[in-house]
Symmetry: C2
Subunit: 345 residues, 2 copies
């Protein structure tokens, strides 16, 4: 299996992308194809011992910058994103992974791979943590102004992904709204509600913001504007809480004195604390986006995984893992079949 | 100053509302007028020693339930919400506070108090925590499908509130979007952006979800659908993190053993930990919605404060405090003047 990796994608590219590529090639049993300017990739590769590793390089002359307008996709035919996407389109690779300009990746995916027949708009799906179960939140930024029909397709694709890749039976579907009752919502949500009710999906109704983390549904549908705000607000809030805790606890003379006074206790607590380490690691993992790796773009003719712009090497590696598992599961065919089964049922 | 309190509003009404009313009457130097069915309020009042306290009662025959459709406002002319609102309208009281059905409170406010001349849609403002500064997020649920012109008015009212009630000079205004760049956003945001640029307000551009907690603006404008989802998602996420931490740390035999092993250390840490208490209390306060008390509905001819449905007595008391401060600041006149100054400048 060959996975194309956009060497120029992400805030820390190409350095960390190459680091992630090397880790992925070592650990995941896949071939990595790096795309980007050879002159920039070679020096980074030279930092690693890649002898015997299944890493190859395909030159791409141009780069679409992180903050560049999505129009660049049309203009820059030789950008790493477009060259990589064509490798997948031509059957020379099985999946494409990028931590780059997500708007450009989505536009290029639609342009170069085309949509799956019958899908009006591809959508980006991410796993949102929750208890007792997490939820697949779809869409997270591909479509800022979708129609009710688009949202129903997001629900269908999300259901298929949850069934086939997350092994959830008969996934429960909810739609983000500003109240539980069926008549709550903005116009888009109110128009989508009856369509979801008659869709044949396991639709359980509206999900308020406070319900998203409560495991009330396996697939939570929303427009890409709201989904993007939800994901980024959550990210910001978690890091705000961490900053606040650190600042409050380490600021001020009294707190510093308190911490010094607790040093003997901390030493005494060490043996017990060591036992807690697996739990703390597990907790940290749940909130480390690097563990999730990347978000699949559902609805295009190929496996496309979009990783976080701030991805480190581990996040890149795990995005490759998501790509590998999606290829193994036959993601594109599974969506095609799922759509035709649902259409004929 | 007389503040009307909806005795029947909130998940724990009338019990905690009466508790909050008694606290407010004792501590805040205002008169409290309770509205609701006398037969339900009297027994609750009888639990307290109210001798000499400035608490009076105005009977209201009907109640609009928490989950009742907003249409009930038209039908139930004698509901506590409507009776209370009319007391403000008739000049018999200075402000109205309710932890009840927020849709009904907003509808009744618009119906019985009327909008301020020139204001198309009133909006709900809440303080969202952030560092170095919090932000006034407006609208939080009054309008699920506002127009660009509505959003500009929300920004104007938010600016006036931030200047006059939060004492912020020349408040920075941002609009919630899915990207920093001026061309990002759904259709509503893209159409509002240029209007905000030419509004004369101190508009600083788009705020992504991750920026909301970063103090990049003093007033953050959004539609009521997105605002509602943001507030409730944040609430859900914080309580999810707390639940998760508790569950992970106390679940499993190994963790229980670890906690037992740490008992001596915990005892040893006590003196230092005591010094941390003020900090921890301050932290807890920042995330206790009861401290904020309530959200002002801006744009109607009267001071209306909507408290959280799950309000406890402290939250009710603090909502009365917000009402008192709004009356003292002359909120309605300040908005009227601010609008006419901005219109003529």
């Amino acid at each position: 299996m060959k996975i194309v990796l956009d060497a120029m994608g992400g805030d820390h590219a190409p350095g960390v992308v190459i680091d992630g590529a090397v880790q992925a090639a070592r650990e995941l049993g896949v071939e990595i194809v790096l795309v980007g300017p050879e002159s920039k990739i070679q020096p980074e590769l030279a930092r690693h011992d890649t002898a015997g590793l299944p890493i190859s390089l395909v030159h791409a002359d141009q780069v679409i910058e992180m903050d560049e307008h999505v129009d660049a996709v049309k203009r820059k035919r030789d950008a790493s994103i477009r060259v990589g996407m064509r490798l997948v389109h031509d059957g020379k690779a099985d999946a494409f992974v990028s931590a780059g300009n997500s708007g450009a990746v989505m536009a290029s995916a639609i342009f170069d791979l085309r949509r799956i027949r019958g899908i009006k708009r591809p959508a980006l799906a991410v796993v949102y943590p929750g208890s007792p179960t997490p939820a697949l939140l779809i869409d997270n930024g591909a479509n800022t102004d979708p129609t009710p029909e688009n949202l129903v397709q997001f629900a269908q694709m999300g259901t298929i992904y949850a069934e086939k890749l997350l092994a959830i039976k008969n996934p429960r579907v909810a739609i983000v709204s500003n109240g539980e009752e069926a008549d709550k919502g903005n116009q888009l949500v109110r128009e989508t509600f009856p369509l979801l009710q008659s869709s044949g999906l396991n639709f359980v109704g509206n999900a308020e913001g406070k319900d998203v983390t409560k495991g009330i549904a396996d697939v939570i549908v929303t427009d890409g504007f709201t989904g993007n705000v939800m994901i980024k607000l959550s990210e910001g809030l978690v890091s705000f809480l961490a900053r606040l805790l650190r600042a409050e606890l380490t600021g001020g003379l009294l707190n510093k004195l308190a911490l010094v006074m607790m040093i003997p206790a901390l030493i005494l607590a060490l043996p017990g604390a060591l036992l807690l380490i697996p739990t703390l690691l597990r907790l940290a993992k749940r909130f480390d986006y690097a563990e999730y790796g990347g978000a699949p773009l559902l609805g295009v003719n190929g496996v496309v995984i979009i990783a976080h712009g701030r991805s480190n090497a581990k996040a890149i590696k795990n995005a490759v893992r998501v790509a590998r598992d999606s290829v193994t599961a036959g993601l594109v065919d599974v969506i095609k079949q799922g759509l035709s089964t649902r259409a004929s049922s």
